[in-house]
């Protein structure tokens, strides 16, 4: 089945961190008409994301310790409900890393688009973080890869290009990353030939032990 190009928020759970007033009433009404299940809470400390798909929070009264997660590390999309434009409030709000914003007074428009923007932005950010973490890990492993190339050059009597190719081929054959294979080789340079042959089994053993 083709995935719909626009999100449908039916059956999503929203948590509204805002005191009860006309703004939160309008917001809750709009969310319910979009098919979401809504819970409102204020005040609140160490709010967790368990059972919640999206959080709307009051940017005017929000404080450190409102969320259980560190600033900017929300595991679900956050939507800031902003009234004040005092620089300190904007700064605190930005630090939470919201995926979308709504301005007060909340009217009949804006809630649906804020949800659509928040979910899309959050998804893209998650993808970016994931690929960034992957790249960082690989960059950090460069010294190990460099050492492994030297070990392979010596152990097999090949040049640097051939050594890299050997590492690549064997890492693919054993379905491990080239960085993982490199660190195994650097760990026991004397048994480089054995490591190249048994990388997969050894890694599996290590994993089982770990």
């Amino acid at each position: 089945m083709r995935k719909s190009s626009l999100p449908n928020f039916r059956d999503c759970h929203a948590l509204v961190l805002h005191r009860s007033d006309s703004n939160s009433e309008t917001l809750i009404r709009q969310l319910e008409s979009l098919g979401l299940t809504v819970r409102r809470k204020w005040s609140a400390d160490d709010v967790s994301a368990t059972g919640v798909d999206v959080v709307f929070f009051d940017a005017d009264l929000g404080y450190d310790g409102l969320f259980a997660w560190p600033a900017s590390r929300a595991p679900i999309p956050l939507i800031a409900v902003m009234g004040s434009e005092a620089p300190g409030r904007i700064e605190w709000t930005l630090a939470q890393g919201p995926s979308a914003y709504l301005t007060k007074p909340i009217g009949s428009t804006g809630v649906f688009s804020a949800l659509a923007i928040a979910f899309r932005t959050f998804e893209k950010q998650q993808q970016l973080h994931k690929s960034l973490a992957d790249l960082t890990r690989r960059v950090e492993a460069r010294p190990v890869l460099f050492k492994a190339i030297l070990v392979v050059m010596e152990g097999f009597g090949v040049d640097d290009a051939e050594a890299y190719q050997l590492l690549r081929t064997n890492s693919m054959k054993h379905r491990v990353s080239i960085e993982e294979l490199s660190s195994l080789i650097v760990g026991s340079p004397d048994s480089v030939r054995e490591t190249m042959g048994n990388a997969n089994r050894r890694i599996l053993r290590q994993a089982t032990r770990g």
């Binding site: 089945m1 083709r2 190009s5 626009l6 309008t26 008409s33 979009l34 009217g107």
Partner: protein, 408 residues
């Protein structure tokens, strides 16, 4: 609120000003005039009905299609003429323009037109059809009876864009295809290339969201093409629409207006006592050459519901009026109508009609009951919709131009 009026004398009791804002001139003046007529007819009925202990004083304004005028006229009514309730607007752009005024001044807009949905405003009561009441039943019928390759042609604005988006998502979700999606500037009658492309792509049916002159020009060109190409015949490749109504059939005229399929919650040909009475009063008041339509009926409904709600609430304040209207069911010309307190839209009964030579529609399908409005298509589930199609009588077979094929 005063007490009931005494029979045999002029009406006593409060006179309540009601805004009536339609563009009875300008680019969509034909529809605007029908809507104005529907609202005025209802106001006169209210004023003659002794059940009501008040009368309505219509404050009629004509923005002539000018967006700024919509806002200025509404603001003036609400600020200086004591108006709390306005029946008005046809296009979505005009509604979007005036909504902030109603929100700011705490008034209620009674919006009497079918539209593309994706809105739910606390200061608006919607008496026209939402997408689950117009386009969804049309797609269901076409997939069951005509095939699953659609050619979309529309006027280049939000009504066409959103309807085509819904059409595309549902048809593709049901393993069908969109032959092409074409737009003409509003008012354009440059149709020849569209006809050529239809010949080229051979769709199973056409979905038209063209409005006004563009729509008439397209239907005439379709009729003309049918003189030498058998494809352009309603039995082979019908034109379908959610905005084709009786006055437009008259405007197209002749054989070109015959055989097309329209989705609407109201047709003039509906055989109900309430509709016959509505029609005869409408013609008696505005002329026997006039025809009713879904937008005229929705305008009529809006005023009657407003009167019933004010009567029940004994107030013109918008909160009591809204609470009162939620509890009322009107036996409207189309059938039972009531307002859904979840989203301020109306429970309406979708129907499909096939156009006839006399400018009316034969009703070919009607829903079993009034359908709950779903302006954001929240409750629409493509898997369930597709699954239901599968359960058609002779198994999951849909006739396509490329021959009968099983859709799985």
């Amino acid at each position: 609120m005063g007490t009931s009026s005494r029979r045999g004398q002029g009406r006593s009791g409060p006179v309540i000003p009601v805004g009536v804002v339609f563009s009875s001139t300008g680019s969509y003046g034909t529809v605007g005039e029908e809507m104005l007529h529907g609202a005025l007819l209802a106001i006169e009925e209210v004023n003659h009905n002794l059940e009501f202990d008040f009368t309505f004083a219509p404050k009629v304004a004509n923005p002539a299609g000018d967006l700024d005028q919509y806002r200025l006229l509404c603001e003036d009514m609400l600020r200086t003429q004591g108006v709390r309730h306005v029946v008005g607007c046809y296009t979505s752009s005009s509604r979007k323009e005036v909504i902030p005024v109603f929100e700011k001044l705490d008034a209620l807009l009674w919006y009497p037109s079918h539209y593309e949905g994706f809105e739910s405003c606390n200061n608006v009561i919607y008496t026209g059809a939402a997408p689950n009441q117009h386009i969804v039943p049309l797609i269901d019928y076409m997939l069951r009876n005509h095939g699953n390759r659609v050619y979309c042609i529309g006027s280049n604005y939000i009504w066409a864009w959103e309807n085509n988006r819904i059409m595309r998502e549902i048809v593709l979700g049901c393993k069908g295809g969109v032959a092409a999606e074409k737009y003409l500037p509003v008012g354009s009658t440059d149709i020849a290339h569209v006809i050529d492309e239809i010949v080229e792509t051979q769709p199973d049916f056409i979905f038209s969201t063209l409005i006004g002159e563009s729509s008439y020009a397209f239907l005439r060109a379709y009729g003309e093409a049918g003189r030498h190409n058998a494809l352009f015949h309603p039995a082979a490749m019908p034109v379908t629409s959610c905005n084709l109504s009786e006055p437009e059939l008259l405007a197209v005229g002749g054989q070109a207006a015959v055989g097309h399929i329209a989705s609407s919650v109201y047709f003039q040909s509906m055989d109900r006592a309430e509709n016959r009475a509505f029609l005869s009063r409408f013609k008696a008041r505005f002329g026997t050459d006039k025809v009713t339509s879904t937008d005229a009926e929705a305008s009529y409904i809006a005023v009657i519901l407003l009167a019933r709600a004010i009567h029940a609430a004994q107030s013109t304040e918008i909160e009591p009026v809204k609470q009162a209207v939620y509890g009322y069911e009107l036996a409207a010309p189309q059938g039972p109508v009531r307002i859904d307190s979840d989203n301020n839209h109306s429970y309406l009964t979708p129907s499909l009609g096939r156009s006839r030579g006399d400018g009316e529609f034969d009703i070919i399908w009607t829903a079993d009951a009034a359908v709950k409005p779903d302006p954001y298509l929240v409750r629409f589930d493509i898997r369930q919709f597709y699954g239901d199609l599968d359960r058609v009588e002779n198994g999951p077979i849909v006739a396509s131009r490329s021959g009968l094929r099983v859709i799985k």
